[in-house]
């Protein structure tokens, strides 16, 4: 859903995962890898002289070719992959092997050759440092991308689109069926104030604005700049085939920060954020079609996946006073 998110009303989140940042270094290393690989394979004689190992037939023929092939393997991944962390860490491993090989060559040689091997050693050490930096940055980017929750779900409601739209457009209705929300306050002008209660009594609040609002078709919103948990959402309403009510489709994105707050928000959404949005929509359908969230003895809070896993017995609860 990555592309979908940035397409939300043409208004992307505030670079929640630092996505564009981590891409330059891996690409540059890809180009470097291509050059080194081509040189090692194409002109092994020249390369072996430059790095001072032209006295060893083994180095000239077998080892340099192997190094050349190894340099070429990750090129495509480094240049094109959206998640290059693995490829860059592969380069770090290759660098380590080169450093060991060159250190052995340096110990065994004297004079001019020893000087050239030393220069090569220094150059490879520099490249290793760069690779290491790139690898750490790419891994961080990957982690923060994983922390963003994207969830979608859909339900059919037995009511005309304009009625379903109107109910949702009154954002203060959302906490009636979206259980992670404590409250939404409409501030007018398309602005609203949202409050979420995360596990551990932590309360997260933000201001949001409506980005797109097409009568009876679509509403999209996003948190305004500076929100601690940047997020965005979109709901679309479409007439179901054969006039069977209205198909409601919701996409939500939350990009919680690293650290304790991020962990709390992650806990709030649990293992399957998609399941929770589905639950939200089932309750939405109940509220619109029957007037309220439907409760049973096993699920006294109403429909919720977590509740389904921790059912109370199907009998009146003991903590209520007798009638």
């Amino acid at each position: 859903m990555g592309a979908d998110v940035t397409a939300m009303g043409g208004a992307p989140l505030d670079s929640p995962a630092g996505e564009p940042r981590g891409r330059f270094l891996p690409r540059a290393l890809g180009v470097l890898s291509l050059g080194l690989g081509a040189a090692a394979l194409g002109t092994p004689g020249l390369v072996s002289r430059v790095i001072g190992v032209d006295d060893s037939a083994l180095a000239r023929t077998v080892l340099l070719r192997a190094v050349g092939v190894r340099e070429l393997v990750p090129v495509a991944g480094l240049l094109a992959s959206g998640t290059p962390a693995g490829w860059v860490w592969g380069r770090v491993a290759g660098d380590t092997m080169d450093l060991v090989a060159l250190a052995v060559a340096w110990r065994d040689r004297r004079g001019e050759r020893r000087r050239r091997v030393g220069n090569a050693l220094a150059a490879v050490a520099g490249i290793t440092a760069l690779d290491l930096l790139a690898a750490v940055l790419a891994s961080r980017a990957a982690t923060s991308r994983r922390r963003a929750f994207r969830a979608s779900a859909t339900v059919t409601v037995n009511r005309p689109a304009d009625e379903v739209y109107r109910f949702w457009r009154d954002l203060e209705n959302l906490p009636r069926f979206m259980y992670h929300l404590e409250s939404v306050r409409a501030d007018g002008d398309g602005r609203s104030h949202w409050t979420v209660r995360a596990p551990g009594g932590r309360r997260v609040e933000w201001d949001a604005e409506i980005v797109d609002d097409n009568l009876s078709e679509l509403i999209s919103w996003r948190s305004v700049k500076g929100a601690r948990v940047p997020n965005a959402g979109r709901v679309r309403f479409a007439r179901a085939a054969g006039g069977r009510g209205t198909e409601v489709r919701v996409d939500l994105v939350y990009a919680p920060p690293a650290g304790a707050l991020g962990r709390a928000v992650a806990k709030l959404f649990g293992e399957e954020p998609g399941q929770q949005v589905r639950d939200d929509l089932r309750r939405f359908k109940q509220v619109i079609e029957t007037g309220e969230v439907v409760r049973s003895d096993g699920s006294p809070e109403g429909l919720a996946t977590r509740q389904q896993l921790r059912q109370r017995p199907a009998r009146p609860a003991a903590d209520r006073a007798p009638r």
Partner: protein
Amino acid sequence: MKANCWQGRDSVAIEEVPEPRIMNARDAIVRITSTAICGSDLHLFHGYIPTVKKGDILGHEFMGEVVEVGPEVHNLRVGDRVVVPFPIACGSCAACQSGLYSLCENSNPNAGIAEKLLGHSPGGIFGYSHMLGGYAGGQAEYARVPFADVGPITVPDDLPDEKVLLLSDVFPTGYMGAELCGITGGEVIAVWGAGAVGLLAMRSAYLLGAERVIAIDRFPYRLRLARERVGAEPLNYEETDVVEALRDMTGGRGPDACIDAVGMEGHHSSALLDAYDRTKQSVRLETERPHALREAIMSCRNGGTVSVIGAYGGFMDKFPIGSLMNRSITLRTGQCHVQRYTRLLLDRIRRGEIDPSFVISHRLRLEDAPVGFEMFRQKQDDCTKVVLKP
């Protein structure tokens, strides 16, 4: 209050539990005057329906007096005498509005569980597992009835409980089983299972215009009921090969329609075939012992209809799809959409066209529910239907 609660496989017990309260604005609380044990309660009792929990109140066939209504219930008043349909239905979703009440899209708060096992979730049912809602059942002194403005039907005081109690499940279920056969007049209908649902399906088949009804069971007392009270031709599957016999009884054609009123815990006269499904079911390799369904399909005439109203839970083996497909057989089924039939069938009872209470064999106190389960399970004392009086 006292309630009959599931304790684990093959065990129920009367427990003291809190009284129910209004949880939704469209609820009512009913003081139960009569409640029954259903054949499908035995599936729960035996532990073949998943997601039943220790302490769950069982029972989905009950009636009584309204003692409290929620603020959104305008059609019932305290003191009304009502029969409560076993499916819980909101009346306003697309399924309810098409008359498919047992498929209510809003009444199962645990739809996610059912969806995993069944693909999509049906509606909620009283006292019938957490997968189907986690609602307390009606084998108790009181019950909370959700969507009380849709389901319960008020009954006149001049009709005793026993004449109308079975409107909650077995009568409409049997009737729907016959209706699914598409009877237009003159058909031969074979019914597997001469328990309460089967017997009422047989009576309903005649009401709808069938010319001959054949009853298949293994208990002589049930076959006797079918012959004497319904006018069906009895067939004991332990004494004869059913497919052969039905072919013989119908000039080689087979019955026009077959009703499976047995469900997941069927038996077979062949010890080997019986053991096959029994073994697989006991280690949960299949959830059903579907002998009746297999036989119904094999027996049905070319181009006929098989109507399945016996309860099934999950997956069966050796489904005779080749017979079904090559012989243009129509398979129709469903948990009964009780709300669709209550008024119609109450009218038939009032006009004296039928008195479904002929299937009731035992009347016990609610406190004796565990005895009733055991008796019903063992088919002791010619047991067909146990009614409990709180």
